[in-house]
């Protein structure tokens, strides 16, 4: 007989699961109907229209169901229904409500749901705006949505084959056989959930994943339009909407990626905003390809050239989103990534391989079927034409993403190499230097092209004007680069070259925007986006090249950027010990650790560190400020710290600090027993305590007298060399036949006293005293200096504004 479980709330789960199924079925139905509509479009307009209406209804049902899933899951999490595995695994009672949404993207199911949700919202927009392309784009979108929705199904075919994973799985189903679920009232024992990963309890993690997933979703629309264009054999009507959606995608995905960087910089202790980590690369590659595809599409619009490469790039961009999901969610990256992702087991692994395979086969089949009829232009483009150089730039971006993908995919292809050669290939020991040394060339070329192509015209440019503009802007850029290079001491020649390219990109795009375009908003999009790109590159160059570890005791500054001085990097020593109230030199500053603090409303521990900059000649304090790096101490039953940095922001640099180690309060010193009579003295490190006797009159907010209690304090007066400095009144009380002790602390001196026992026969007391030694009170700190990091953020913002200006102008047309 089945056990009747008590205290479960089953209806949200049942409703949610119902929505999961209607989401999947709705998408399939919509795909089928739209497919029928597309097939009969030419032969039977009436029939086609009916199918189209069915397709729309199917898609609306699909979209509404996802919103249903969203609210059902939100209900489960917000009401702490821990009978659901998802709520138990990813949330807890103590979770602050602003982080409830973050639970959605801690788990794999929740992220797939978010992705499906964005896709369906974008799909609804496409449905109402794509006109003649509707049937085909929507058939493609619905098909992809069916693939995504299948990720949430959680169906079992036999005991071993599982398709998808539902967020509405019950705890007792996910851990079958655990003895606790034998009892019908098991809910009485499950009081709290596992809780959200402390790293996700951060405002960046509330906004970064939704934006990033919107970016992922945005690549679907150009993909769908390109597939639809191939399907229909119509290479005209897809151009305008695809340009708009590619601009949207470039803006949103770019923002999402750099928000991840900002999150890493603000709240993780990776020591930077970009580390060429596989997870970061996995979202960068689709963006690079999308940007390349956008540019070749612009070429196609203006000159009818580069259609094949446009299709290839825009299709590839979305396929790479799936590939990146495969890399980051299945655990293939395993030992190579610093991101804490969980492998979801072989079910998801094979599921994603099947979807990836379907997408790749579909892309190739569509291209192959139309290959002969794809319009090509026989004549050559002029070397002085804009399209020629835009094409080259796009190819460089594609090659760059191929290089990034090859290194990122080492864990994917290394088994093959091991099988062939016996060598077990691992990622580069210094991945940052590896990528930087290669990608610096891409950055140089793209920065140069980003300004140059704007001076050129489609088809044929006037050489004289172009050369004049090159001369003016190049000259100014050279001066700027020389100035920055000398003041910032950029010595490595390839980075000096990059410095010139960035300067040129900035100067030339400003020149183009204000002198050539006269600042007209209608044409500013490209130059603003390119200007932002140039600023971003310059910011990356300056902040990374001169990144300084200021918490070094020994000499030798470690910069992995461009200087692959491996020996130096191997011996990097960048932790420093800060004792309580003892100033330590960190670069130009003196840092003093002033103590830790906690509060009831926040699970974190804050460490106060005061900084002072003192003029070496006059000894005057020129500047002083306080930073509070924080950490979760012993989170989720683990030992140790999960720390978050604190930074001092200047306009031209950041001081970035975080705590790497800290002695837990319980580990500081140990209690020593003293048996004393009234008037006796107990010596402690910094002075002595005099036992003044017992006191029946207990007045302490920490103790509330109850009937039948016996309570007493031991009054201890603390003296140092200069006289009495305070009183300690540890409490001893008997409640319900058991004895209890409340320790008293003299905070300033670090003295703790406990009245352990009263010995009536000897008229004495057993008092335990400890004083934390000054050397027990310290933190280990890492401090870095990032010059001109604001240029990185400003560059990204300007670039995204450029995308949005272009998008606005193209929507207005």
């Amino acid at each position: 007989m089945d056990t009747q479980f008590i205290g479960e709330h089953l209806w949200p789960g049942r409703l949610g699961h119902f929505f999961v199924i209607t989401t999947f079925v709705g998408a399939l139905f919509s795909a089928f109907s739209y497919w029928r509509a597309a097939k009969t479009e030419k032969t039977d307009a009436y029939n086609s229209h009916s199918w189209q209406l069915l397709g729309r209804n199917g898609f609306v049902l699909h979209a509404a169901s996802i919103i249903g899933i969203f609210f059902a899951l939100y209900y489960v999490i917000a009401n702490h229904l821990f009978e659901y595995h998802y709520a138990w695994e990813h949330s807890s009672l103590a979770l602050r409500s602003k982080y409830l949404l973050s639970c959605f993207w801690e788990g794999s199911e929740g992220s797939f749901m978010l992705w499906t949700l964005w896709n369906s919202i974008l799909g609804l927009i496409v449905m109402s705006t794509s006109k003649t392309m509707e049937t085909r784009t929507m058939a493609i979108i619905s098909m992809v949505q069916a693939c995504l929705a299948s990720m949430l199904l959680g169906f079992y075919f036999g005991p071993d084959v599982k398709v998808g994973s539902t967020p509405f799985m019950l705890l007792r189903d996910s851990m079958q056989g655990a003895p606790i679920f034998q009892s019908a009232n098991y809910m009485n024992f499950i009081k709290d959930g596992n809780g959200l990963n402390p790293l996700l309890q951060n405002y960046w993690m509330v906004i970064h994943p939704p934006v990033l997933f919107l970016g992922f979703s945005s690549t679907l629309i150009p993909f769908a339009y390109c597939m639809a264009a191939l399907w229909k054999g119509d290479y005209e009507s897809f151009v305008k909407p695809t340009i708009r959606w590619s601009l949207f995608s470039g803006a949103v995905l770019g923002t999402g990626i750099m928000m991840g960087g900002a999150w890493a910089y603000e709240s993780l202790n990776f020591g930077g905003y970009w580390a060429w980590d596989p997870v970061e690369n996995a979202s960068l590659v689709p963006w690079l390809i999308m940007v390349a595809g956008l540019h070749t599409l612009l070429v196609y619009k203006a000159t009818k050239r580069s259609l094949i490469i446009t299709f290839t790039l825009l299709l590839l961009s979305h396929v790479m989103i799936w590939y990146s999901t495969f890399l980051t969610r299945t655990g293939v990256l395993g030992k190579t990534s610093v991101h804490a992702f969980t492998g979801e087991g072989s079910a998801l692994y094979w599921h994603l391989i099947v979807v990836l395979g379907l997408l790749v086969v579909a892309c190739i089949a569509f291209m192959a079927a139309r290959w002969k009829g794809l319009p090509r232009i026989k004549t050559e483009e002029a070397t002085s034409s804009r399209e020629f150089w835009m094409f080259i730039g796009s190819i460089v971006l594609l090659l760059s993403s191929i290089q990034i993908s090859i290194t990122t995919s080492i864990p994917v292809w290394s088994p093959l190499v091991k099988w062939m050669t016996g060598k077990d290939v691992a990622p580069p020991v210094d991945p940052i230097a590896h990528y930087n040394n290669i990608q610096v060339w891409v950055a140089i070329i793209i920065a140069l092209l980003s300004a140059t192509i704007l001076f050129l015209k489609f088809k044929q440019s006037d050489a004289k004007t172009v050369l004049k503009r090159f001369g003016i802007t190049g000259g100014i850029a050279l001066l700027l680069a020389l100035f920055i290079g000398i003041t910032q001491e950029i010595r490595a020649w390839q980075y000096a070259l990059l410095l010139f390219s960035c300067s040129y990109a900035i100067v030339a795009n400003l020149y183009y925007a204000f002198v050539v375009q006269k600042g007209r908003l209608k044409q500013l999009g490209p130059s603003v986006a390119h200007l932002g790109f140039g600023m971003l590159l310059l910011g990356i160059l300056l902040s990374s090249y001169n990144k300084q570890v200021i918490s070094v005791n020994t000499l030798g500054v470690i910069i992995p950027f461009g200087k692959s001085d491996a020996e130096n990097a191997k011996e990097s020593r960048d932790n420093v010990v800060l004792f309580h109230n003892t100033a330590v030199a960190l670069g130009d500053y003196y840092a003093t650790y002033r103590g830790d603090s906690t509060s009831k409303s926040d699970p974190r521990t804050f460490f106060r560190v005061d900084y002072q900059r003192i003029d070496s000649a006059t000894k005057k304090v020129e500047e002083s400020f306080t930073l509070y790096p924080d950490a979760f101490v012993n989170p989720k039953g683990q030992e140790g710290l999960i720390s978050s940095p604190a930074s001092k922001h200047y306009w031209n640099k950041d001081i970035f600090t975080y705590v790497t180690s800290y002695l837990m309060p319980k580990d500081k010193g140990s209690f020593i027993d003293h048996t004393v009579k009234e008037g006796d003295t107990i010596f402690v490190g910094s002075g002595y305590l005099v036992f003044r006797g017992f006191n029946r009159d207990v007045k302490d907010p920490r103790y509330t007298p109850q009937e039948g209690d016996v309570a007493v304090t031991a009054d201890l007066a603390y003296y140092d060399m200069k006289g009495q400095k305070g009183m300690l009144r540890p409490i001893y009380y008997i409640h319900d036949k058991y004895d209890n002790q409340i320790t008293d602390t003299l905070q300033k001196e670090g003295i703790m006293a406990r009245l352990e026992k009263i010995l009536p026969e000897q008229k004495s007391a057993l008092i335990q005293v400890k004083q934390s030694k000054p050397t027990d009170d310290y933190i280990v700190l890492k401090a870095l200096l990032f010059p001109y990091i604001n240029l990185v953020w400003l560059g990204v913002i300007v670039m995204v504004i450029g995308f949005l200006i272009s998008l606005r102008n193209r929507l207005a047309n």
Partner: protein
């Protein structure tokens, strides 16, 4: 042949050259035995914390010095020196991926990555990167 095709070929050729020439950056997974045959060369060793031998981290002496013993996949135990803070939860780690090189008897570690079992699920927790 069109000009674009030539440029395309040149670009692809250049890219292939650069990518292939940088294959040398790729490291390998080794054991302590095979790593000690190439002292000073930076590589990866996968191993487990040897709990029978003591770990040592005293930030008061040197906050950038942590030593422990690890057993590699072939069962050899070696001393490991990490120039950084003691990684959180290393006692509970199931597996440790160490980046570094052999010098003398010890494996000098520049980066540690650990796989930790949490109570209910297997997590990848990563800690510590000295570089």
């Amino acid at each position: 042949m069109k000009k674009t095709h030539i440029v395309l070929l040149v670009l692809v050729a250049a890219a292939v050259c650069i990518i292939v020439s940088k294959f040398g950056d790729f490291s390998t997974y080794e054991t302590f035995a095979s790593a000690s045959k190439q002292p000073g060369k930076a590589l990866h060793v996968i191993g487990y914390l040897e709990k029978s031998k003591a770990m040592d981290y005293d930030p008061l002496k040197d906050p950038n010095h942590f030593t422990f013993y690890a057993k590699d996949k072939s069962g050899n135990v070696n001393k490991v020196i990490f120039n950084g803070e003691k990684p959180r939860d290393i006692e509970k780690s199931e597996q440790i991926v160490m980046k570094g090189y052999i010098e003398g008897d010890a494996f000098h570690c520049t980066g540690i990555q650990m796989k930790c079992p949490s109570k209910y699920k297997k997590d990848q927790v990563v800690v510590g990167n000295a570089s």
